[in-house]
Amino acid sequence: MTENIFIDYSILILFLPLVSFLILVFAGKRLPRQGDWVGIGAILITLALSISMFISMLIEYEPGFSHEASFTWINLSAFQIELGFLVDNITIIMLLVVSLISSMTHIFSTKYLQGDVRYSRYYAYLGLFTFSMNGIVLANNLISLYMFWELVGVSSYLLIQHWFEKDSAADAAKKAFLTNRVGDIGFFIGIMLIFSTVGAFTYSEVFAGVADGSIGGTILTFAGLGLFLGAMGKSSQFPLHIWLPDAMEGPTPVSALMHAATMVAAGVYMSVRIFPLFTPDALTVVAYVGGFTALFAASIAITQNDIKKVLAYSTVSQLGYMILAVGTGAYIAGFFHLVTHAMFKACLFYCSGSVIHAMHHALHKKHDHETDPQDMRNMGGFKGKMPVTYTTMLIATLAISGVPLFSGFLSKDAILAGTLSFVTHHPEHFFLAICGFGAAMITAFYMFRLIFMTFHGEPNKKELLKDIHESPKAMTFPLIILATLSIFIFYTLPYVNPISDHGWFKDLIVPQDSFVQDSHILSAHEIQEGVHHAHYPAMALSLLVAGLGIGLSWMMYYKKKLSAEAWAKKTGPMYDLSLNKYYFDENYQKYLIQPVLKLADKVAYIDWELYDKYFINGFGRVTDWISRVTGKLDYEGIDQTLVDGVGRTAGKMGSGLKQIQTGKLQNYLLFVLAGVVVILVFQTI
């Protein structure tokens, strides 16, 4: 154990879930209740530890608080790799978020996956995930970050394909992993660029290297973008966003944990960590990617009917927000949104899970296996039937739509403020502002669309309604917790002003100056100033757009004043595009994957059928042919005409040509003479 209690705690936090993973993998099936209690126990302890860390952080209330501990992983005199932990406020908050949501998932799943074939496996993988996610959080260097990064990918792969009998699940899992790998390649190239110039991996050394200019200029930009590509993969930013919606094939609690709250946020977390090495150019790219993704994903979410798909796209869009914040320099706001979003988005997913659960049972009763339990068009009027789910979901929805008194409002506002100030500094990038506010409005719209379609009105199959029941405690409990945590107060303390941008969070997480040697890069202070000034205008605007969105959907789906169908018709092609996610998967298939597979076939064909069969075996064949010919020449002596010719000149046709067949002595003798002559000639030359 090290001398530092925080490090000890984080070590425990890191490895407890791993232990549960190992136990469950090897002995899970044999344990009572398939050993879910192992996982739950582990995660609860983890949670306790992170809470205690969190509390002590609050007690210390020290912005610059940070502990680091590392050990030498590889040490070949010159080539060294140090791995280690970095514990600062960001880490602690992140740890809390992860272990909180994770433990919620553990609890929620006890009922949601009751009696599942691979129940213990499921808990094992949850353990693996928590382990690797905490690894990402605690890493103090790029290498271990990368390692846990991929491990997270694996656990998501395993959990998405939990029901691998469904081809769609298997496909989704593969897709998720490969899409992430694309990002990871960028990540690794970034690492290599940094290592080849700075010669180190730990954040601090890398920043030092950036500061003393041993890496800079284009190289640094590319390094930054490379790393960011990794973030894009994990946080499913455009154009690598395709995997997240499909990942919904996994069990809903998993979607809540990984594909809403934590794992996908890893990209954002990483960008926050390495923010100080982004060059202005890099940041611009980041900002645009984020902004565009936010708007783009939201525009898809509008038209989706699968309740989880809606949430998935909203997740993508929210992540876009966070990335946008990083890009505009207000990366603290981004991180803030990460935290709040984790809470309410997880909550939303659990709610959807609870709804689906209810639907499932109802349909099961009806022996109805045609109706899709996730399609919102089959829902409606659940409000009365499942009050808890309804209220919690409403709260979460209000939060995500950025309504005051709720956490989402604070963080979103901070981001928009950041964007606004950025745009005021660089008017040429006004598009980012459009993205930000536009997305805000659309979000509000489709989230309420979801609420109305699910809980209000009535389902197209009325008889369903009477079989819809509230979910069991184990499932509602997490809802309540997370809904509660979506209230503003938890983030503004010690202040209680619901619209101020102050609070422990802002106090403890202070932005860092960029280390990049660049004249027109804004200092952290400047950014903060800008954000502060943009605070109220941004708030006003955001309230306005949120209100618009909510109102619109109220008209459309509650009052039914406006017919959604009519609008759909009006915006024909737009609607199609959105409904079909802009045909991204199709095009990737058509222009990326298929060509590669074709190429592979071609290469294999060349390798096997052409190169080997003709070129390599060609040697054999040629040898064989030559040997055949020589064999003939040699054994059958020289060609008949020669002998024949000699015979004729000799005027001796006696026995005629027939007899001059091969194998004749004279041919040999003639050949000897020929040989002699040849050598003579050879010599005289």
Binding site: I626, S627, G631, Y668, A674, V676, I679, Q683
Partner: protein, 497 residues
């Protein structure tokens, strides 16, 4: 040294002569069916001769019979080699079924005479002697090749052999005559200087004679393009004789070739000084190199096509002649040494291979590849031995064949970049040769179902097989004795002038 003095050092050969006569006489008293017993006489005589040679090993390096016979370790080496080969072949013959229905007394006697002839070949330093020796050996082998009187192919073999042999020895003789005319002497060591002293007017004559003579020797060692008799004769003759022809006379041929060319066309004071072209119109090294490459390549290529293992081995023996020729161009001690060492290794592996072919002939009455199918399972000993021989002939360590090849390559490489291409040719050729050697193994093990019944050859046969197989492996791991023997034998006799 005068003739009478010479006789004193000549008694191994005298013993041999007595043996032969004894054999002839003894054979008179045997009934046809057991005239095979003559073998023991000859065998005994040969062993006596070997002992005699061993005792005479430390006799001075000298020339006998007024400078027409050399008495030197070089000759001694080859004599031993020849005796070894002969003994083995005689034992083989005693197991051969081809000879069953013939009276084999003379057969062994003829072999004895052939040994005598080869003794002369390896030690003669006078053109007359060379010619006589070669003729003795040839005539004996004509008869032996055609020994199966009622077997057509054997007849044909002998006819081809006789005409071919007579023809090429005639050509050689003509070459001799020209050489004699140019120098007025028949003593090899007088010819050399005489030629060296000549002006370039006689170049063409020299060239002509040289080539004619080469034809004569080439025929003995079956080097391309003087090899055409080989396949037919080898296939037609009784297998033991084929084995014999592929080893002993070839060795003798190399001996005389080395001696003749180094004495006549080399600088006269030392063989080791290398072949100095008597004039720039005679690029000896390159001619020999080219001949070597052509020989090995052709031998290998044609061998691939063969369906009969015996015939395949015939061609492969041509290829091996090619390998050995690689050692001559630089006429360095390494080169000659390599050839000698190779001959030792070759003795075991080639005789072994032929012996197994003979054995398979008797058991499966066939010598084609198909006859070998599944052999490895049916006769494990034979299979393993044959595998060893094949790998050794291919030249894969740890077998004798590899060591032999190794020495040859080493000699070539040592001579410097000029001859690297020769080494490459040799290397590629040994890859090609794998093609057909492995084919035997393939038939023995991979093709043909494995029989559960195991056939173990007779005691004597097994011993003989092992006696050939074990050295083939052992010499591949530890060959120092041979190497030393060879290096000690690189001493040539020169007449005191």
């Amino acid at each position: 040294m005068s003739n009478l003095q010479s006789l004193y050092y000549y008694w191994p050969e005298l013993i041999l002569t007595v043996t032969i006569l004894a054999g002839i006489i003894a054979d008179l008293f045997y009934a046809p069916k057991d005239s095979g017993k003559t073998m023991y006489w000859i065998l005994g005589g040969l062993i006596l001769t070997a002992f005699a040679l061993k005792l005479a090993a430390d006799s001075p390096v000298a020339t006998l019979f007024m400078g027409s016979i050399a008495l030197d370790p070089f000759a001694w080496f080859f004599k031993m080699l020849i005796i070894a080969a002969t003994v083995i072949v005689m034992l083989m013959s005693s197991k051969s079924t081809e000879l069953l229905n013939y009276r084999v007394g003379e057969y062994y006697v003829l072999m004895g005479i052939m040994v005598f002839g080869m003794f002369l070949m390896v030690s003669s330093i006078d053109m007359i002697m060379v010619y006589l020796a070669i003729e003795i050996v040839s005539i004996m082998s004509f008869v032996l090749a055609g020994y199966l009187k009622h077997d057509l192919s054997s007849n044909e073999a002998s006819l081809k052999y006789v005409i071919y042999g007579a023809f090429s020895s005639g050509i050689m003789l003509y070459g001799f005559s020209i050489l004699f005319g140019l120098t007025g002497t028949t003593k090899l060591f007088e010819i050399g200087p005489a030629l060296a002293a000549m002006d370039s007017s006689g170049n063409f004559a020299i060239m002509l004679s040289a080539v004619f003579i080469l034809a004569g020797f080439g025929y003995k060692i079956s080097a391309v393009p003087f090899h055409f008799w080989t396949p037919d004769v080898y296939q037609g003759s009784p297998t033991p004789i084929t084995a014999y022809l592929s080893v002993a006379p070839k060795a003798a041929g190399f001996a005389v070739l080395i001696r003749f060319f180094s004495a006549v066309f080399g600088s006269n004071n030392s063989v080791m000084a290398g072949l100095v072209p008597v004039s720039d119109v005679l690029p000896w090294p390159h001619i020999l190199a080219v001949v070597a490459v052509i020989t090995m390549t052709l031998g290998n290529l044609v061998a691939i096509q063969q369906e009969s293992v015996k015939r395949m081995l015939a061609y492969s023996s041509i290829a091996h002649a090619g390998y050995m020729l690689m050692g001559l161009p630089m006429m360095s001690s390494e080169g000659i040494g390599a050839v000698m060492l190779y001959l030792v290794m070759y003795l075991f592996m080639n005789l072994g291979a032929f012996f197994i072919v003979m054995y398979v002939q008797t058991k499966k009455d066939g010598e084609t590849f198909d006859a070998f199918s599944g052999l490895g399972w049916e006769m494990p000993l034979v299979g393993i031995a044959m595998t060893v021989f094949m790998f050794s002939l291919t030249g894969i360590p740890p077998t004798a064949g590899f060591i032999g090849k190794y020495y040859l390559f080493a000699a070539v490489i040592k001579a410097g970049p000029t001859f690297y291409w020769l080494a490459f040719a040799g290397a590629i050729n040994s890859v090609i040769s794998l093609y057909y050697y492995i084919r035997v193994i393939r038939h023995m093990y991979l093709i043909g179902e494995r029989s559960e019944s195991i056939h173990v050859p007779a005691m004597m046969t097994s011993i003989l097989i092992l006696a050939l197989a074990i050295p083939t492996v052992v010499l591949g791991v530890y060959w120092t004795p041979v190497a030393d023997w060879v290096s000690n034998s690189l001493v040539f006799a020169f007449p005191a002038m």
